[in-house]
Subunit: 116 residues, 2 copies
Amino acid sequence: MDPFAALADPNRRLLMSELGRGPQTVGALTEGIGLSQPAVSKHLRVLRAAELVRVRPDGQRRWYEVNPAPLREVDEWLEPFRRQWAQRLDRLEQHLDDTESTPPTESTEPAEHDHR
Amino acid sequence: MDPFAALADPNRRLLMSELGRGPQTVGALTEGIGLSQPAVSKHLRVLRAAELVRVRPDGQRRWYEVNPAPLREVDEWLEPFRRQWAQRLDRLEQHLDDTESTPPTESTEPAEHDHR
DNA sequence: CAGCTATATAACTAGTACGGCATATTTAGG
DNA sequence: CCTAAATATGCCGTACTAGTTATATAGCTG
């Protein structure tokens, strides 16, 4: 399963963040979040399928821990957009007011753009 | 709408990447992707709701362009996991084989962890 | 073994997502 | 005005999601 889909759910992101603080059992995770234990188990299953977490059985407990590797894919996807952050932030504010009105610089084409 | 959810769909990520190469009209985007025009319009609506893109009407055309700002939220969410990447990458390989078998280092607890 | 604890799975439900086709809307152009 | 082009919206079917409760499974303990 792809990490983007796995991280789409806010509760799963919460679980990841919680696990980021160290390995946890299902019980501990269930307490931290406002969900039933089965719900947590299912989210963990999705995270496992995405390989975002790994499990270590220990008697009747299961210690879940973060596996950050698949997050690289997310990070790499973000990469091309990074250089745009700084540049466009000022433009954003300017645009928030007149989003509907201004056509591109030229008449029918947006002219060459920053990535040219 | 939250950027994670917006990016969960692979087609929307494709549209974002396409737009990363410069502003495009709906028609152009529709050609690039294997979807109907209405489908593209709907995806663009979601991206707009997440403020990941902005539109500029130009006659009957609409020029869509990336607004990278919300991607910062994603990037910031990744931040805490970054330091784990390097460290755990070697451990991962080791684990790929014996994920089910090895109990934690200690008997009932995973012993102290990096931050416990 | 009996019973408790910890976790996973099953069955069900309500809501939402994504696609398609058809249609509305807006603008351009003769 | 009438038509065509570009885009958005409505409606529908199918599929998946995320939650619940109930139950199964596995280990622990007396």
